[in-house]
Subunit: 232 residues, 2 copies
């Protein structure tokens, strides 16, 4: 995953560790991120078929490989906690698969927008958590969310396509809106299922009002990303 630090959310980016490294929610956090990388890898590899050029396919293969490097980081971090990555990921398979199934791109441009926007939404959400984590675990989360050069490829690809095609722009704008809705739905579903993760989010955001405020800021940040892509 990559794209967008919490700075874009207009919230304080000063880390203020309030969650100890041994909080059980940290294992859940690493695990949901790990399954996110695996499912993103396979979705990207599948969607590369939509690319009109070998250049596009290679760019996507590089993005997918970067997801696996992040998976390795998370697998090691879980292993250091004495946790098997496959056991830990199991509770999150259904929700993440549901997100991908409900946002299956039908065109190359939809796939590109999903990569950029989806990564951005995830980074917004998880970076707020990272800011509340003990430094040794926050580092892991920030590493796997770090923006990569791949987003530049995506931005160029989408901007060029929509600059000269208004109906494509309108279509992709609606697509971006749907991505945000589905991502928030699934994030809420995950939290409702996992008490440890919910507690971690509550500590990071303050309270239920804090969570609502976070989701509002995520919407603002999403709108900004859509503008970067030449959409909305």
């Amino acid at each position: 995953m990559g794209v967008n630090p919490s700075a874009a959310l207009g919230v304080s980016t000063e880390p203020n560790p309030r969650i100890p490294a041994d909080h059980p929610g940290v294992t859940d956090l690493f695990a949901v991120l790990a399954y996110g990388e695996i499912s993103a890898f396979y979705r990207l590899a599948e969607e590369a078929k939509l690319s009109p050029t070998l250049r596009g396919k290679v760019a996507v293969a590089k993005m997918a490989a970067a997801e696996m490097a992040h998976f390795d980081t998370l697998e090691q971090a879980l292993s250091a906690r004495g946790v098997d990555v496959f056991d830990a990921m199991a509770p999150f398979v259904r929700a993440l698969d549901a997100y991908h199934d409900s946002t299956d791109p039908s065109t190359w441009l939809e796939s590109m927008v999903k990569f950029y926007v989806g990564d951005g939404i995830a980074a917004d959400f998880y970076t707020v958590l990272a800011d509340a984590l003990a430094p040794e675990v926050a580092t892991v989360v920030r590493d796997v969310l770090a923006e990569t050069s791949h987003s530049e490829f995506v931005i160029e690809e989408v901007r060029r396509a929509v600059a000269e095609n208004r109906s494509e722009r309108d279509r992709l704008t609606l697509w971006g809106r749907r991505l945000l809705g589905e991502a928030i739905t699934q994030a809420q579903y995950v939290m409702a299922q996992r008490d440890e993760l919910t507690e971690l989010v509550l500590v990071a955001t303050g309270d239920l009002t804090g969570i609502a405020a976070l989701f509002e800021r995520m919407q603002a940040s999403h709108a900004e990303r859509m503008r970067v892509l030449g959409l909305g």
Copy 2:
């Protein structure tokens, strides 16, 4: 790619550089290896669907990511020679796609055997070339052919499956034989098309008799790999 150094071929592994770094065949060699990595990446990602477990899918995703790391190495090596990787790969797309189309695995075990055996055949062939290359280009070739820990996963997966299933063993033995035949057919097709690469192979092997001897040794090395998998 990984698996099997030229030592297994019973030929001298003492490098004896006879081909200068600026030989035009070196660009072809890097390019065919680069397209080999890309096509292997997408085949692996596709075949991961055949995996009965998430553990298998993750193992395959790691193999695929390793292919992309090799692609990056080759892209940089070509770039250092002032060559665009996409232009350079174009002549090899048809032959490598034909190899993959003619050896499309229909089961998870066929996919695993193809990964191990196909990588081994390629490594046998290209390592002999590397031994004749100037050190600065030989290093690139050896880097991208280096054996990885992934082959251990494949060996275990196949050995376990065939130990208790004779008909599966017979079926995969035939499959391995077909892989070798198709790989040699396509290698000859590539050489017939690319004079620069043919010259490089001729210098590395000595003459046409040397090429024939190389293919014979590749068969012996292939038989050894099949034994390692518990086949043949």
